[in-house]
Symmetry: C2
């Protein structure tokens, strides 16, 4: 039976998150229903990252096995026709039967988007968190780099995670100004924290971003992040920022048979 | 009595347009209500451009006269507190009593945003029109330049306009790829038509953009736009594209006492 790899983008605003829940609409649930309709029997969909309610994705990746042999492009079109416009299959490809979106993932890229201006940008309000006032992004970047490498990230984990170890490796951790002509309006800029890692603890990116904002506002020095990391104590880090600023940008695989980009 | 200049940004999705209507919520109506609440009596708000239902703005400009003498920054904050998050006063400034947002305007900049990719970008679906398939934007740009200068734009005007003359001057008319890191996801790009002019006829930007897409798809040559323009016949031009791709970017004034950007 054919296995598929799907790259999925969504605006998370109106969903309970990636994962099926007892109530509410999930992205996983929508995909399973659309694929089940096409296959004429229940289909299980696995996602690389179980994004929380309100979190968005540009390149979430999912795997599934389907009974019928459907051309991948046709499958993507047929699934999209059954999804709301806030969820789109960007691409679909036949995958190895061994391909598992979660366990085969080698690294993921997340972004935390911050609108830094007196007034929130009305076209970005669903996908960026609003931080008015001065924000020194170069100093935030300096602090973010401290987290690169393999570390115990317990200080940036929310209660409720079910992990064996809190060690993770960030191959990249940086802050940059992603303002661009298409987005910019008077008096604001888009400051983005981007992390590439082999895995992420519960709310880890949002807690790191919250800590970096403390640094950017001058309340803490860049070296403070080193102390927080070493402490492994969640109460030392900054606040967990709201879900709606977080975006799962992409997922990488070793055996990327049909990498879409 | 003090006159104010307000720069206003909004996502037009849920509104009947800038202008007050017999029913439905308008941006003008929201501003008049918020300012009236503050001033304790009815306030009339004039906008530089009467954007249609679904059209967005980054830099719509409005003028109003208020009985109470309120500091401009305080006014902006108080008005924003009374508006939905999809409408924001980006900046406010005291203006000359002669300042009239519509009649004092020297030029306006509009953009028509096109997502060119197989699948619509779910985070851009409210602010860009979806055009799948090949789209030669360099050829579209070549065609767009033909419209620069003073011309009779009758061929690009929808019925229902109430203008004395259909002559307008475009000081800039161009197509570019405004894709950027923050927006891009696999398999698509943001192609934008931008026009700067002293005035625009009803649906003019949307009809020009629709004609440019005909050129970009290879159905027409860039020189065809010259013929359409010369004909002054609306039925020769391309289709009027949907409202949700249009953005009023900025308005310029000679006497710009408090230009925000």
């Amino acid at each position: 039976v054919p296995a598929y790899k799907l790259v999925v983008a969504y605006e998370g605003t109106d969903f309970v998150g990636w994962q099926r829940q007892a109530s509410g609409t999930s992205i996983q649930g929508l995909l399973e229903q659309a694929l089940g309709d096409l296959d004429g029997r229940p289909v299980a969909v696995v996602g690389a990252g179980r994004t929380d309610a309100g979190v968005h994705a540009l390149g979430q990746t999912a795997s599934c096995v389907i009974g019928r042999d459907i051309d991948a492009e046709t499958l993507a079109r047929a699934v999209n026709a059954r999804l709301p416009p806030s969820v789109r299959v960007i691409s679909a490809a036949l995958a190895s039967p061994r391909f598992h979106a979660r366990f085969s993932a080698r690294s993921k890229t997340y972004r935390y988007q911050i609108w830094n201006g007196d007034v929130m940008h009305p076209l970005l309000r669903r996908v960026a968190w609003h931080a008015p006032g001065p924000l020194a992004f170069a100093v935030m970047d300096q602090a973010a780099r401290v987290l690169e490498g393999r570390h115990d990230f317990a200080a940036f984990q929310s209660a409720g995670g079910d992990v064996v170890t809190t060690e993770r490796e960030l191959t990249s951790s940086k802050v940059s100004d992603l303002s661009c002509e298409a987005l910019t309006s008077c008096g604001g800029r888009l400051i983005v924290y981007e992390a590439v890692g082999d895995g992420f603890l519960r709310h880890m990116v949002r807690a790191i971003a919250g800590s970096l904002v403390e640094v950017g506002r001058g309340r803490r020095s860049p070296d403070w992040l080193r102390e927080v990391l070493a402490s492994r104590a969640r109460d030392l880090a900054g606040p967990t920022l709201p879900a709606h600023g977080l975006v799962l940008v992409s997922v990488r695989y070793d055996d990327d048979l049909a990498a879409p980009c």
